[in-house]
Structure formats: C-alpha cells, structure tokens
Amino acid sequence: MASHAHAETLAVQEQFDTAAQQKDASGLGMWIFLITEIMFFGGLFLVYIVYRSKYPDVFGAASRSLNATIGAINTAVLLCSSFTMVLAVRAGQLGRRKAIIVFLILTLILGFVFLGVKAYEWNEKFQEHHIPGPSFLMEGVAEQGHAQLFFSLYFAMTGLHALHMVIGAGLLSVLLWQAWRGKFSAAYYTPIDMVGLYWHFVDIIWIYLFPLLYLIDRHGPKP
C-alpha cells in the first residue's frame, strides 16, 4: 500500500524474507558506504605517508609544533562519545526510549566538545601563522614550502574529519527527534544502529589521525 510508505519502519519490505535479513542488508549497505569512506580518507593518509617519507625532518618539526596533550584529550572525548553511542544502540536493542534519548544527547554533547577543542586548536594555528598561505611562517625551518605542505595536509585531514563530525551531529539530531516521537522499538532501531556504525567509523579515522599527525615524531632532533 503506497499510502503507507511512511510506515515502512516496522514492516518487512517485499524484497526481504525476514526482518533479520532486512536488517543485515542495511548493515551491509552501510559497511559498503564506510568502505568508500575508508578509500576516500585512505588517499589523504597515503599522501601524508608519501610526503612524510620525503621530508621527514620538516614534517617532524611541524608535527612537534602540535599540542599532543590536547590531541590526547580530544581522542579520549571521542572514545567516550563512541561509548555513549554504543549504549544508545544497546538501548535501541532493548527498546528503551528514555535511555536512547539520554545516550544520544550525551553523544551529541561529546561530539560538540570535540569540535570545540578542534576549533581552539585551529585558532591557535592562526595565531602562530601556521595556516598555509602568504603569511605562513614556521620558525626554525628552512623549507617553508614543505612545512606548508604538512599544515595543508593537517587542515585537509582534520577538517574533513571535523566535517564528518558535523554531519554525524546532524544525523544524531534527526535520531533524537525520531526517538522523541517514539519511532524506535526493540523490533526496529536500524537507523540508530547505522548512525552508530558511522559514528564509530569517524572515531576510527581519528584513532589513526592522532598518532600520525601528533605523535610519531615527538622526540626527534630538535630543530
């Protein structure tokens, strides 16, 4: 019945035999999307690895100029948000509406804390003239161009990651609205599950960005 298309939430669509199969198909589709994301970020990681192997000294010096403590704190914030997200999915599995709402709100708050810390870090870069462009200046480094390359990659990678966080926050807000309206139950919580996969994926990207950008050159020769 076409007029009931909006009520598809619980019913098994005609192309599926069972609700379990329908849910597996959603999960598989989400994973295929995440793999395109892996390849998308993978290209940036590859460029970073290539140029880091080409200009190890400058990349080391530029990496040491980042604040590893703030980076570690932000990693912890993001891991906490993944924990609250997985609890929201669990609340969905059990059909607990209030718990879904509480954990989605917590996840959203932690996501914004991450973005706030990121904004603080980027602002610091502006003050230090570490923004690639005409006014770029990194003291103690001879090859300014190579240092700009590091910061171009830094902003491209952390920026793209932050954009994913913003999109994730949007998705969480939609879920929150739907959970508030009582759309989810133990029989149907697929959207929470899928956004959960997305949120954890964004977390995994940061799990790699943090050591690659902030950590691997910490104690190299001081310039």
Partner: protein
C-alpha cells in the same frame, strides 16, 4: 511481531572496552615521548590498529555480524593495503636503480 534475535552485549563488556581504549590512548601518548627510534612509528601504529580492532569488533558489532559483512570489511581493508603498499613500493624504490637519461 518477533524482533530479529539480536545479540545484546552487556554494559560491562562495553565499559571494559571503553576503559581499555582510554588506557591505550594514554599509553600511545606516553610512548611517543620515549625515544625508540623507528619503533616509535611501529608502536604508535600497532596501538592504533589494536584500538581500531576493539572499536570495530565490539562497538561496531563485527564479532556478531554475518560472514558476508566480515568479508566485505576485510576486502575494504585489503584494497586500502594495496593502495598504500603499491604506491610506497614505487616511492621508496624509485631512487634505487639509476635510470639512464634521467
């Protein structure tokens, strides 16, 4: 109206994974300040891989997912490995053999 029988992990399991992830974050940060030479990169990336596995297996439920999903996920990582390995095989070895006329 039977719900698909889902495996529901306990809050305790998630909490343990979460705490281990936080500890690993602390460890990777601390180890970065110890001079291990080239092993700093190895240590940082090994810990990152460990954290990724914890998040994927527990938080993303890969350990309860279908074989097909697991195959697709591994396939994705395999292609990423091909991308990085083949490119680095070129970049790293380019200067090894003198090319006449270069």
């Amino acid at each position: 109206m039977s719900a698909p029988t889902e495996h529901v992990d306990s809050v305790r399991t998630y909490a343990i994974v979460w705490i281990v992830l936080l500890i690993l974050t602390g460890v990777t940060t601390a180890v970065a300040y110890v001079d291990l030479g080239h092993f700093n990169v190895v240590a940082a990336l090994s810990i990152a891989v460990g954290k990724m596995l914890l998040v994927a297996l527990f938080f993303m439920h890969v350990r309860h997912s279908t074989q097909l999903t697991r195959l697709v996920v591994s396939g994705g990582l395999l292609w990423l490995a091909i991308l990085i390995t083949l490119t680095m095989a070129d970049v790293v070895t380019r200067g090894w053999i003198g090319v006449p006329g270069r």
